[in-house]
Amino acid sequence: MSALAFELPPALEATAPAEERGLDRDGVRMLVADASDGAIFHARFFELPDLLAAGDLVVVNVSATLAAAIPGRRADGARVLIHVATRAPDLDEPWRVVELRSSDGSQPARGTIGERIALPGLHGRLTLVARYASSTRLLLARFDGLGTVEELLEYHGEPIRYGYVSRQWPLAAYQNVYATTPGSAEMPSAGRPFTPRLIAALVARGIAVAPVVLHAGVSSPERHEPPFPEQYDVPAATARLVNGTRRAGARVIAVGTTVVRALETVARPDGTVAAGAGWTGLVIDAGYGVHAVDGLITGWHEPEASHLRMLAAVAGGSLLEGSYRAALRHGYLWHEFGDSHLILR
């Protein structure tokens, strides 16, 4: 079996938050894969402080999730769901990158260039202006009506939800405890198992936590496209902590592929990082490698997901294959509400 082409049994899809399964957020399972000795073992997320060492640095993405799915109405009266992905590089306020979905969000829907879609309230309409980059699914669109796009999402949006999630959960279910900067279309969900108690336990053990921002776009699991450009911000203080940690021989643990993308965007060939902010189109795979992170906390990803190629860059192909085989055999749960995976290099 290749880890990058497996069949995900429906029973392993997490349909609801851990809290709905009677667990605390940090009670989810965590498979630990250690590339230094090839070991794979099972833990719970709240054991993280014991799996790291004093002096290690945990880097989190503090981007908060938007209610990015809004209802629209086509000229023929058909209802459609609009997934508002990201802003567009170099374009100002009313422009966004969007994806059209069926009215229940479960399927991709086609859009025609020039088409106008009526928005809720007095927000007017959305005009589909162009295909975005090389995507077959993303469109560049202009919002034209009263109020801001942020207000439109705040008053009329719901969190983006794919078919495997059983029902609509409140936006709070899609926020990490440390989320502070709104901007992600989908939850940076690797951080979901963190709780205030767990962060206190990390601090007590001498493990530091530092923020970056990377506003995540839409994943639309049906299409296997590489990740599109996303906005990031690596603050100077975080860059200093990353460099100091690695100089001291301790490990930098990225929470989520979004953090890897942000840190690797500002990494120099020698593995040190510089502060920086802007848009990143970086695509990380085994060929590119990783230079600034020594470990990754992540969820369980769809077969063929581009995330898996980044994971292979962190773990190495054979360890990743072993991890996924073990997770399938031991019934780990997939997706944003699922179980966790700690990869140490």
Partner: protein, 229 residues
Amino acid sequence: MSTAIITGASRGLGLALAHALAHRGWRLVLDARGAADLRRAAVDLERITDITAIPGDVSNDWHREALAAAAGERLDLLVNNASLLGPSPQPQLGDYPLGEFERVYAVNVLAPLALTQVALPLMPVGACVLNVTSDAAVEPYPGWGGYGSSKAALEQLSVILGAERPDLRVYAVDPGDMRTRMHQDAFPTEDISDRPLPEESVPGLLELIGADLPSGRYQARSLPVVHSG
């Protein structure tokens, strides 16, 4: 036979709802300011059901008394739909003429409360008060300070009445953006022909009228509940 009072029934959402209820066998008491338009609407509807059409302004006492008297001994549904947008184009709050502002509140807040007061003694357990509001009641749209804040007041009146009168069903319902005269007045220079017709909001209103949903705030085009109150 159930009886309803619908204000602002000569055009737009009020007229569309009157047609739907008439076809479902309701007896209707209709109000509108424009006597000629109301007469025209009534002639159509009289072929279907028992109609009493009384032209007038809901902000007048005697007119409200006449509507309640026409309902008879029992009223099953009161639809406070008549509203006033205010000046077109709508001024910003910093320049809003206070006389106009008072007039908007008189029609959109005081009149629905006053009509509800005369209607309540006629309403049996389970009867329905349906106040038509707007998402301008919730969202900070520039230029909508008069109309929007008056609708916010009407929404709060609705949810408090619902709390005070658990024997009734009291709904504040946002019908959504519609192709109506009022909407054209709000956007005098825009082509609004791509907006849904008010008929598209009627199924949601019928759902509220017919089902046993808790009192609260609803959106007609996305029932069930937005916020229950």
